[in-house]
Symmetry: C3
Subunit: 208 residues, 3 copies
């Protein structure tokens, strides 16, 4: 959208700023998860910090929905703003769900491969941030969406490998139940980033 139009529609800025804020929040969440796995002490406290990030995200989600319902003019199609907001919220919920499992399941030590999976999530959330920043520079959106798709395939492969290893190596079925879910929750967070990328791609193509 050309600059003069943006000046005429100040509300567009607000949505854009809120989405950027949420993207920053999600990156903070995924980074805190990687940090927690890398320095696995004081885990309940670290998980609480991630929960606080998720609560902050709920606020932003609520602000976007309220603004959406009150705005007569929106910068993109109403349903795309709603969808983008929901999917970003899903990513954050899953980051928190992943972190909280370590406390809930009293996980003593982190299985090898878990940090790698969380780092793919972290990389993916960085690309989500870049794609959202690029919402007003449509030419730069696509490369970030392609990279998100690539990272999602990578996380899917790693998750499958980790679960196969888990079944091969772990004899305690309770541990299998706990770790299978942890891997799947982190991988689902990456999946939801791909959903975000799909919405962003749709918005960009519609406004091309």
């Amino acid at each position: 959208m050309p600059g003069f139009l943006r000046r005429l529609l100040p509300r567009e800025e607000d949505f854009y700023d809120l989405f950027v804020k949420q993207a920053v929040n999600i990156q903070a969440g995924s980074s805190a998860l990687v940090e927690m796995l890398a320095h696995y002490t004081g885990v309940p406290e670290q998980a609480s910090s991630i929960k606080a990030i998720e609560h902050a995200g709920d606020e932003i989600t609520h602000n976007i929905f309220t603004k959406l319902n009150q705005s007569f003019v929106t910068p993109f199609d109403r349903e795309d703003i709603h969808e983008l907001c929901s999917k970003l919220d899903d990513v954050l919920d899953l980051i928190d769900a992943g972190a909280s499992r370590f406390v809930l399941y009293r996980v003593d030590s982190v299985r090898s491969g878990t940090i790698e999976l969380a780092k793919i999530l972290q990389d993916t959330t960085k690309e989500v941030g870049a794609a959202i920043h690029a919402l007003n520079k449509p030419d730069h959106v696509l490369k970030h969406c392609i990279e998100i798709n690539r990272l999602e395939n990578e996380s899917d492969r790693l998750c499958r490998t980790l679960i196969a290893q888990l079944f091969d190596e772990e004899k305690d079925s309770v541990q299998i139940i706990k770790w299978k879910e942890i891997f799947e929750v982190i991988e689902t967070a990456v999946d939801k980033c791909e959903d975000v990328a799909n919405v962003i791609e749709t918005i960009t193509l519609k406004n091309a």
Copy 2:
């Protein structure tokens, strides 16, 4: 919507009546689940009654969709009616899924905490009923939605506690698999009530 308009558009009444009917049905389902857990005998028969409630709900869902597709004028945005109807249907499906697990998994006795979780679901469906009744008194909607959100947080906390206890206390991994799923299905039913509340809030804000 002012009364004179409602008289001009009798179909609005029909949607409202159908949603109220579905809300009553959902409350019947969650109450029957609490009843089954409190008087844990003749479980297959009690689960069948809940299945019958779910079938009655499918009828109502189908009626709403048919009416929606045939109506030229709708009282709220078409996609919001569709979404509200789908989410109410999801709640009922999950109540039935929860009840049927006790038969399917040949559960002998009910673990402590299960009734409390089902009672939160029952309370939440009561609030859903109140929120739907209030669709034509928008000033009363918000307080019910806030209460639904509060109950959802409560059920989430209780579900996490019950699952942590399950892993701590239960040594039989087959029991862990069965009960973890039962708790999660009931908690997901409450989650879907929150989805219902979100749609109702959206409808109310749009029509404010």
Copy 3:
């Protein structure tokens, strides 16, 4: 839509052709899954072929989305095309997820009942194909949608029976975890076919 209009709007043909192509692809996927279970040798290779079908489906999905975003005029409501395309993609993802579990979980032999479940999925995808073919002959759509609903109920019942049997017969909880998921993934593929039927029904009623 009458024939003369279709001639004026060649793009409609394109959407129709792409959906038919995806329906054919999904039938190929479910047939390959039945084949793999019936002739349970060279499983990794057979699962790879199903993965290839899923990749071909991703291409079609991407083509539909691109066309949707670039088309000014669409034969049905934009959001219904999007929904139909997404749900068909979900079916294919779940067929692939089901097939890949046999490799991932190093499944030695196929439990009795699994082929029956996969055959219901195969029958359901045939009906999905018929329903999509009938998109331009609306009078024939409904019977296929009714049949899809019947098959979904059948698969749901069989899946529940198989899981109950699994808990009754299998003492190894690791096997329970693996097979419960396999049954649920196949059943969820049938569920998604029902979602497809619901979208097709909506499209037909709107255009009646």
